[in-house]
Symmetry: C2
Subunit: 793 residues, 2 copies
């Protein structure tokens, strides 16, 4: 889709050199800007044509009833869906009497560029109207990292060749029309007119529209203010109505002159605060931004990103596409979480309405691991959001006859919104995933304050859930029956290995954290007998293994199931659109990494030989119909010595949206897979693991790469790992006297700022041959190093 | 509910001696009349008050979309629901100027009686208006077994004490108002105004209203005609509009005189035929009924039922309640199927809208076994209906990537209507149940023509389904994974024992029937290699057994699951309204007989000791939240020597609606449980099985009964089995020279019409103690024999 000449490969930006309306919706997702609080899809300034218009505020949702053909006890009755709020991106242009619309007149040139270092979307347009009046338009857009409520647009028009009468209409439009419904379950339901008007304010400098959602009763304020620079006499007026507001500026501009409009946007919402409070909050944000000014906002944005890249950048030599993709992915992962601040990080960030704007386990197991080591404060925020939903999760557990807290499979506000329980409520591993994110964050940062205030309570309630969920068999083994693991092509199975191992880790973590903070544990009612129960269950956890085949079982009995008949389905991916769940569930076919994921995060539970055999077995049965798979397959392929296969998977994970590999980038970006691109490189080729509180590395590069350089933040330090085929160098930045102990291929190594450490690397030999994938599902081979295909397709 | 003094225990009728509006809706179900084609709920003649008004035609449904919160491939998009058609039962009465309404004036006496031998619902009312004008009304109502399209009402009014001006309004009303919606999943959704008017005809003697359903586009005609006998001058008029028609008759009646109105009703519907054809069909039915006249219809009805009872009656001595209940059940089972004629038999017959009027496996495994031995022609018809839906079942199988035919879990027209696949589509045992019904019918009747025309094709397509559904393990065992058995508190399990054994039987039956009819088999494309595949799979079928506990497993791994915690839920039955499926599915708790059902129908696969141990194990875990359980538990309790427990269960099955045990009799009768009352007696205390084509008996009575006498039709003969504690006598009726070979307790016995055979009976000693049931779920103990409680509560 988006793999064509209009998108050159560049190291620090994503550019579009010509406009192709067939990929307009995809480009809107790629060019989306967000700070985690406000999200603007990359719609054209003039609003039309569009693929999907979108302006989102994190956590701002509408409720709707969940329909069931046959309802059951505990089925959630209410769904939540992200709402497209008032669109402030609109800047329409009238040239003489023709509206700028790229579908009419002559478009001489059209460039867009997302600059990953400035954090701005830039656009240049060279256009003539049907009447042959020619203009150049340059716009720049940002969603501010430094001022959470603010987005801003600079819009500059310049006539070419002859003078033109220029009219700019800057608008704020609520309840925009949305494209029609889809039958794909991954697409959000579209709500018509979700916003009821509450009030409209205007003064000399700004307009604020207040609306309230009809069912969820959330109040939202959207404001705009302008700074206009015109080259002479100018007429302007502001019109405000319930669902829209408009500033109109008209003037005659000569060639060589320009009309410049800076548009400041502010958004705020609340479920509790009054109309006055929300109105004032929006007006205050506008006032602050006006004080900072356009240049100030641009400078702040750059400074914020410079700091981020300084600690987070990944250098990939030998593959320009992958280099671009991993930075693109990191940028969007940062955007999704940077200023989310105790709101969820949705699976598509704020780039589209896919999956209704819900957050899933993707956040804890794919996005947060990246942010833990690159932007840890946003991890603390994301987990504080989970903590803020504990009451809802406790109520859900009680409804399900369980103890502790049952976190929702998908949600915006914290309530379970899954309308299909076998692949929703039954996926209790979400609780273990949250526990793992807590443990990982505390281990990497040493943030004991967080652990005391937030982490321990999460761990305790999660441990209580799992103890109530599991049971002992007559031989003393501990089992979790009837739950669903990560792989959505199996459901409601006994002893899902990933769930069992992760639950065991969570139980131990809760016991250990309780020991570290006995006063807090005491307040939470934790007693020594209770922690003994946790440790006992963890120690007795059942790990299903098929002794005849010598491989672990994804869940009890899995390796005895029938094989999928791939002959019938070579062109029928994703399978879930072509086959019933009943058939997928009962066969040995995987949508995504599950046991493989357990081998990544619980690697200690497997021998090297088991890992090799398990990879060999499950690779052949994994169709990767989920975007949460390639990165994990990359990591284990690398660990088991299939470096070239790992490389292909790493590219697939990182390029998922730039190449629109799932053909649904138009609905928003796949944040977990973009994060997975980083994980594939760092955990895959860097061999990075957190081994009991010590960072551990075991690097090895595939043929196609000549160098991989990445950094991880660890306990306030930045550790830089620079890998070449022959050797790896570990270096520490920050803190003149600090030293860091790490494991290199099992060897304990101490690194200080003065003394980087270099180790030679051998050749990694796989135990088994490179495994095959299901028909048609081998990852696309990377183009030969340095080839044309790797530069600019 | 209905257990109060107003319902005396009578051998051949069900009477209500006073009107209690609190049980009005239940009484409407109990007093429902049907011939399998037309169903009239027992609503009061004057229409109000009502619990649920209802006039149904078998197979006449409306379509509606199936909603899903998260849809998936193969989820049925359309539901079907039975429609309340034009109500012709209405006969309103005006006494002077007061409408007869039991809620006003003085109701001196109100009797209703369902006569199981005449097949009529009789009513007498003695009522005074507020103005103290007193009348006696007597009405009788029948739905004709002999004239399929006809129902009729005789309505007689007689003033008491003084003359009265009597006005009778006889009506036909379409799109009646329905009571509101319920949240119980077992209750049908209510459609508003499902019928669009098409045409209205009237002539001197009758009115016909034609309507069409809006979505399913079925055409229905409802007609009424009258015979009026008035004691003098009479005014009458007919008014017809789109949705209603009314005959009004007025006259003055003296004490000792009476006004008599006979109302004839005719119904017909079609998905194909023209308006003219349907109109003429209804008019012709009315003309035929008019020719027969009221007395003729009454006589035909009695003759039909005399023949039925002559071959089907069950005599139970020692328990008057059970005697009444088993006849009541047989009567309603007959009503559900007698003239269904290639339409489905719904789970509630035509007595209410419960379960949307759908048919389930209940029909083949509970209702048809009774009809096979008491009214076999209706079994052939019901299975011909299944055969008529083969194309839809083949299409469904193909949609599910399976071979053969996948019959729907619930349907009216033959399309899958289940909106929750784990307890719907996944319950593939429906196919084996249909196969079993075919085999049972052919075995009992010797109807080889049916086998050639209908049975073999059903068996072949069912065998093909199961072969495509199963698979071999590495040791050569044959498994069916990921399906749901009868017990709805487990779902999507591997190797459900019932499904495996029943599928194996179906495979063998298909192979054997193919041998009997090689020409038909050849036309169906059956080859020797294919039948070998069927026999091979059946021979290798896996039967899960827990060697440590010495019991079979309901499904693979079942006996390793956690136990249900009954402490929490003593008052929370049915569990599915108080606990999530996920928790029910993963624990050792059963909604209903499953393995126990396999031991009934596939008894040869178990030793006597295994049966005893299995009963002991599963009894303790079965909560009987389904009405499809007590009868089967009765049968196996009897076989394993727990005769008193069996007796309690037999009563529960038979009394389910007379005692409103499930508290939803108002939505219609539980046809399977009513049939199960017969099964509990005949298969339980009679020990009746069809053992490889030979009828087999092994009688034993519980303490509470002194005698059990029943008949089964076998190959054109009637075999009567008369059981007392000390002895059993087998006798053959019909066919002067016929003889019948049967097995008595394993001994081969030949019975001829001249020579009944008597055998003494010993005492049956159970291997194990009487098992306990879950807390609060022991069946109600039968009252002591001859006690007051057993006569007339």
């Amino acid at each position: 889709m988006i793999r064509h000449g209009a998108y050159p490969t560049e190291p620090w930006s994503v550019s579009e050199t010509a406009l192709d309306l067939n990929v307009l919706a995809q480009s809107e997702s790629l060019f989306a800007l967000s700070n985690g609080h406000i999200g603007l899809r990359g719609n054209l300034d003039e609003g039309e044509p569009y693929g999907i218009p979108g302006t989102y505020l994190n956590g701002f949702y509408e409720k709707k009833p969940q329909p069931y053909a046959e309802a059951g006890y505990g089925f959630p009755e209410t769904d939540q869906t992200l709402v497209d709020v008032a669109n402030g991106k609109l800047v329409r242009l009238l040239v003489d009497d023709a509206p700028l619309d790229v579908r009419y007149g002559d478009l001489h040139d059209h460039h867009r560029r997302l600059d990953l270092r400035s954090g701005m979307l830039e656009r240049t347009v060279d256009w003539s109207s049907a009447a042959q009046t020619r203009v150049r338009v340059r716009s720049r857009r940002l969603v501010s990292f430094s001022q959470r409520a603010i987005a801003a647009i600079e819009y500059v028009v310049e006539p070419v060749g002859s003078a033109a009468r220029i009219t700019v209409q800057s608008e704020l439009v609520a309840n925009e029309q949305q494209p029609g419904e889809s039958t794909d379950p991954r697409v959000a339901a579209v709500l018509g007119h979700p916003l009821a008007p509450v009030a409209q304010d205007r003064d000399d400098r700004s307009v604020v529209l207040l609306h309230r959602t009809r069912a969820s009763e959330l109040l939202v304020g959207a404001g705009m203010g302008h700074i206009v620079e015109a080259p002479g006499r100018m007429a302007s007026e502001v019109v405000v109505s319930e669902d829209w507001a408009r500033l109109t500026v008209s003037c005659t501009v000569q060639p060589g002159e320009q009309l410049r409009v800076v548009k400041l946007l502010a958004y705020g919402w609340s479920s509790l605060r009054s109309e006055t409070a929300v109105r004032d909050q929006v007006a205050a944000a506008l006032a602050g931004a006006r004080l900072t000014g356009w240049d100030g906002l641009v400078a702040e944005q750059r400074a914020y990103l410079d700091e981020f890249w300084d600690a987070a950048d990944v250098v990939v030599d030998g593959d320009a596409e992958l280099q671009q993709a991993v930075r693109f992915g990191l940028f969007h992962v940062l955007q999704s979480g940077a200023r989310a601040e105790r709101r969820a990080i949705p699976s598509k960030g704020l780039t589209g309405l896919g999956y209704d704007g819900h957050t899933f386990w993707d956040t804890e197991m794919f996005v947060l691991p990246v942010l833990t080591y690159t932007h840890p404060s946003s991890v603390a925020d994301a987990l504080r959001w989970r903590h803020s939903t504990l009451d809802r999760a406790r109520a859900r557990a009680a409804e399900l006859h369980l103890a502790g807290a049952a976190f929702p499979w998908r949600t915006i506000r914290g309530d379970e919104c899954s309308g299909y329980w076998p692949a929703g409520t039954a996926a209790f591993h979400i609780d273990a995933d949250i526990a793992d994110a807590v443990v990982r964050y505390v281990s990497a940062t040493g943030d004991t304050g967080f652990e005391r205030e937030v982490g321990l309570e999460l761990l305790v309630e999660i441990a209580r859930l799992f103890v109530s969920l599991g049971h002992y068999d007559r031989d003393g083994g501990w089992h979790i029956d009837g739950v669903t693991g990560p792989d959505e092509y199996s459901a409601v199975t006994d002893d899902n290995l990933y769930t069992n191992l992760m639950a065991a880790r969570a139980l131990v973590a809760a016991a250990e954290a309780s020991l570290r903070h006995p006063d807090v544990a005491d307040r939470l009612g934790v007693t020594p007998p209770e922690t003994s129960v946790w440790r006992g269950a963890a120690a007795a956890v059942h790990v299903p293994f098929d002794a005849v085949l010598g491989v672990h079982q994804q869940s009890a009995g899995f390796t005895g199931h029938a094989e999928w008949d791939f002959d019938d389905d070579e062109d029928a991916y994703p399978l879930f659109l072509h086959a019933p769940y009943f058939d997928l569930y009962r066969k040995q076919v995987l949508k995504q990494a599950d046991l493989i994921l357990a081998m990544h995060w619980c690697g200690d539970a497997f021998t090297a030989e088991q890992k090799a055999r398990n990879v060999d077995y499950y690779e052949r049965r994994t169709v990767r119909d989920s975007s949460l798979s390639a990165c994990t397959q990359a990591i284990l392929a690398a660990e088991t010595g299939h470096l070239d296969l790992a490389y292909d998977y790493a590219r697939e994970a990182a390029l998922i949206d730039l190449h629109d590999l799932q053909k649904n980038t138009h609905d928003g970006l796949h944040m977990a897979s973009l994060a997975g691109g980083w994980l594939a490189l760092v955990a895959g080729f860097g061999g990075f693991r957190d081994t009991g509180g010590t960072p551990s590395f075991d690097p090895a590069l595939p043929q196609g790469l000549t160098r991989l350089r990445f950094s991880v933040r660890w306990q306030g330090l930045r550790l830089t790992v620079d890998v070449r085929h022959s050797a790896v160098t570990y270096a520490v930045v920050d803190g003149a006297t600090a030293s860091l102990v790490l494991l290199h291929a099992g060897e304990e190594v101490t690194v200080t700022p003065d003394a980087p450490v270099t180790r030679e690397l051998g050749i990694r030999v796989p135990l088994l041959q490179r495994p095959a994938q299901p028909p048609g599902r081998s990852p696309e081979p990377a183009p030969p190093a340095g080839s044309e295909g790797n530069r600019g397709r």
